[in-house]
Symmetry: none
Subunit: 269 residues, 2 copies
DNA sequence: TCACAAACGATCAATATCAATCATATTGCA
DNA sequence: TGCAATATGATTGATATTGATCGTTTGTGA
């Protein structure tokens, strides 16, 4: 076995488990202890893993993507104040007792903060949203079944016959990667799949997008503008974009952000 | 077991319960008292936990209060060391890559501690189990859909057509409120409903019950002894009860609860 | 208060891991 | 082929970790 081959195996082993012993790697690669030690030492100076007594461990162990305290690593903090203002408007549309659907996403996640005092049946496909609502609210929480995708933080079933089909709501709330004349756009095929499943289970589709999303385009179209009942965005939206929504018959709600920093929002692209 | 591995287990144990005894950690890691003490001392100076007489406690109480913090308020601490020992045996039945189903419950919850190094598709109807596995392991986690019942900590769908029916596993692990000649008994109708849904999705049914459950009776019978492939319990089981299982063709595994008698484990066959 | 058991700290032997060295095998190149 | 460079595997002595045992301390209940 060649050096590169061993390194690949070792690195992948370290990814799988938080800590891998020298002996395990010896068994794995059928090479000697001395060689493994040399490999570990080499990978250590390359900063591809950390060398510890007895073996090696992953360099950045817990990337616990998106649970509880820090829902979605980077995205979470981008435009947080806008997202929060938008989310507040979204929650204000809801009446206690009225069932809603919340699709997973960084903007929709912000809604949980305003749902704490409420009492509604809430259906979601987002593990972090469910987690937060369970902890901090008395709402009835319903979850879609399926595999939990860590990266996207959603739960998705490859089958069509899940509980989703049995839940009906007045409103569904969702984010998006882009919003243009062609409709709602999303980047990740997995998200598309999850969203299309939910989209028919509610009367009104409410879209939460910060104003930068009007200037973003993406490869996948989720649905046309006509399907959207309401768009909630921040005051960075331009007249031309507002007009576009108006002519499509979409209700527009503009959330005022306390600190009016319009310039910054355009930079984040 | 290696130092890092132990430290991870100890820290995760301390997160679960406010206080963990040295003896529990010994059972958990299969290492000696002295080693555990050294580990606690090391983690103490690292300020990762607080060392107290008899064991260790979490450093800051409001680490994550709520779900993961105290999965099942009261029940959790009852017979904890037995439950852990039983859970360890349960996990040792599993092979990496082999899909399993874990039904929600205080005993089955303990399995999560031993699943951290593993890589298996795991289906569960328990929110806390899913939560812990997502945080602390790389297993593929699948969740059943439906309403989350806070009291029982399970997710239940009133409909028959959920993802559950699409998941198949070699083994299903479950607890129970009682186990007698008539079979497996449960107290809560909601739990019965959840369990019966899962029970047909696996070849082998593995039941995890501490020995006190042999003397408990309950109102609802879940299934007969003949449906059970394996029972895992602690060494408090009486001969008469063991005989009952034997004549019903059930494999019995007795988990040793203290580190004192390693020889007894060989009797488990 | 006293007796007792559990928990603790220190010590030591056994074991595991490591680093250094040398011998051997493989590769690249003239 | 012959030679040098490199990679690998085995050996050995050094070092670190572990588990058992001891006597001591601490907490508990009579």
């Amino acid at each position: 076995m060649h050096e590169k081959e061993r390194h690949r195996i070792i690195l992948s082993a370290v990814q799988e488990k938080p800590v891998v012993t020298v002996q395990e790697m010896v068994d794995l690669t059928e090479s000697s202890e001395a060689t493994i030690r040399r490999d570990i030492a080499a990978l250590h100076v390359q900063k591809r893993l950390r060398r510890v007594r007895g073996g090696a461990e992953a360099l950045s162990p817990p990337q616990f993507i998106g649970l509880a305290g820090r829902p979605f690593s980077v995205n979470e903090t981008i435009n947080a104040s806008q997202k929060r203002a938008i989310a507040r408007e979204a929650v204000e549309l809801c009446k206690d007792g009225e069932p809603i659907i919340i699709n997973g996403g960084t903007t929709t996640f912000q809604m949980v903060h305003f749902l704490t005092g409420r009492r509604m049946p809430i259906f979601t496909n987002s593990f972090p949203i469910a987690e937060h609502l369970l902890r901090h609210s008395k709402n009835t929480v319903m979850l879609s079944g399926g595999t939990i995708y860590r990266e996207q933080n959603i739960i998705l079933s490859p089958f069509d016959n899940d509980v989703t089909r049995n839940f009906y709501a007045r409103r569904m709330f969702m984010g998006a990667q882009g919003l243009g004349p062609l409709g709602l756009m999303e980047g990740d095929p997995l998200l598309i799949q999850a969203e299309q499943k939910l989209i028919d289970q509610a009367d009104e589709l409410v879209v939460l997008v910060d104003s930068s999303k009007f200037r973003k385009r993406s490869s996948l179209i989720l649905c046309g503008l006509s399907r959207i009942a309401t768009v909630i965005t921040d005051d960075g939206i331009e007249d031309r974009e507002a007009k576009m929504l108006e002519t499509a018959g979409v209700t527009l709600i503009v959330a005022r952000t306390t600190a009016s920093n319009k310039e910054e929002s355009s930079l984040q692209a």
